[in-house]
Symmetry: none
Subunit: 201 residues, 4 copies
């Protein structure tokens, strides 16, 4: 598909520019110059500038889900020891963030520098991720795996905050430790810090 490839190319160029400069500093002019296409062509593939960014955000979310699904293949979660499950979760996140630093930057650092509706889209994604983690932690507390007195909401935010910050620091800023073996080391290190404080020995 020629058209699909073109659309994808456009998205890639836009992703890079948005990631480097942010939404408002990236002009349609920059995108078309970068993609070597005519001004009107952008609007053949996207309704407007907003739509381009939204599509990237949706991609980020889809890939998040896909990464999880991919990693889950061949893993029997129910039989996984809880500690391994936590590692699995941390690795999931890191693997995802390591895969596409530009998209990671978009998701983790765009924050409120976006039009209101895009901020909402970002928030929704955030809430969903935190919510899922909270639910899993709650389940583990109830089943005597995690400390009975653990504040689930706080813990979910703690872990998510820690992991995303680390992902941003290494993968986006320093562009290191992003190959599979190093990610494994990262997982172990993060796990070794957090696990003792939340698991029942």
């Amino acid at each position: 598909m020629k058209a699909d490839a073109r659309r994808q190319m456009l998205l890639d160029r836009a992703k890079r520019l948005f990631s480097q400069r942010g939404y408002y500093q990236t002009q349609i002019s920059d995108i078309i110059k970068n993609a070597k296409i005519a001004r009107g062509t952008v609007y053949q593939y996207f309704k407007n500038k907003d739509d381009i960014f939204s599509t990237l955000l949706q991609t980020a979310y889809d890939e998040w889900q896909a990464t999880i699904a991919e990693e889950m293949k061949g893993v029997d979660l129910t039989s996984l020891p809880p500690r391994d499950y936590l590692k699995f979760r941390i690795r999931n996140s890191l693997t995802y963030f390591a895969k596409d630093p530009e998209l990671t930057n978009l998701v983790l650092r765009m924050g409120y520098g976006l039009p209101a509706n895009l901020v909402r889209a970002l928030d929704r994604m955030d809430r969903e991720i935190i919510g899922q983690m909270g639910a899993e932690l709650g389940w583990a507390v109830k089943h005597g795996v995690l400390r009975k007195d653990l504040d689930v909401e706080l813990s979910a935010n703690l872990i998510h905050g820690a992991v995303t910050r680390i992902a941003y620091h290494y993968f986006v800023k320093k562009k290191t430790r992003n190959d599979p073996e190093e990610i494994d080391t990262l997982v172990e290190e993060i796990f070794d810090i957090i696990a003792p404080g939340i698991f029942i020995p």
Copy 2:
């Protein structure tokens, strides 16, 4: 000083608006309408829009330092047991972030939705905070307080990520747990999760 009060009022209105809508969605028109002053008056107190935001960022940084200095009063850090020192650090951050949710939002969520130079200012502040924490962790490792195999850089990011995320979640988003006693509970909870993983028993 009439002029000083006017300048401060302007900053307060701008802070609220920037915090609510972000940099680019906040127009000078919004600020002057909100502050009930004339358009030109803004430029009597600030070089330009950028300067207003920079000033707010500088304030954030100054207050960060001031909060630490304030908390340090009457505390002999050298004689403080290491575990208490960590708690003290966590409490410092939380106290600061709880004090001014609007400023907190500015610092934690504006990200790359800013003109390039402001992004740099934000990054500088970030690096400084992380750097300081890293140095302290390094010292503690060397003196046998923390695990010898602890990755200092990773730990600093982990703790900072965890704490800022929690601050953002409770103080900015949910607007709860921001009074001193509840902050103490937060500190204990965060400490109880992280401490076992980093201290030498």
Copy 3:
């Protein structure tokens, strides 16, 4: 001819759209969507958007002439009593306008909301119609049928203004009185108002 039918269909769709929305509010996109043809196909049949509209205008003029010619068949104008001749003229106009309300709307209401050259085409048609009527009125004055002191130019405009306004009001706006018998009544009514003021008793 398949091609001729296609061209005619295109004109019909364009006529409806132009009539409903005007020239500038009707986009080529609207026309091709409505006609279910491809964008490029339009330019196989017409030089450009302008050419479509011009063709419609030319059609309007041609049909005007055709309507007159049609009505004239079997009528010996020279032997027609002058009063009947006026009625005949009024009926001609009304019959024409009643036939195609969309075209009527195009001719009577597009006015200056057109590109300069189309305005000129519209004006030319207008002048021709008025001119012809003026000539006939002049002839009737000279031959002692109409009042000697009648201002021919003014009368032509008066009659044309009255008739077109009535046509627009009933046929385009209200979509009534457009069948032959009712047109006859309209003719009588218009005649009864204007005739006493212009004919020599």
Copy 4:
């Protein structure tokens, strides 16, 4: 008032341009070049291009009312013989249209070459004028002044169509017969044609 004068100047320039070229062919660029002001200045006085045109249309309507009010001063309508009343009405219209040919052109010839909402504004004005005339004719029929069998709706359109067409022809197109004495002659001529056909002798 400096600002008021500027606004008025802007309206005058816009009126001329709109009248000469129509709505869509008149660009904001044309207006500011003509008025020798900056692009942004237009938007200090008007919300958008539409608003400029709307204001002109409103002015047209207001001046229509004002013209009538002005002419009515010192005239006792109730004691006016019906024939003089018709003349008075015709003169009113002509006086108004003669006063500002550019505005006249805007009102009489813009037709459907306008954005939908402006077309509606134009139609509303038209209906109001026709409606008022219809009411007056109806009253005159009921009181035995006009022919009992007169079709009031048709007559109102006939008179309005005749008068506006004549106004357009002389005042806008030919730019003649627009001084008070000549208007009086026009009134007499129009009256002499229409009156015999509608009044009861």
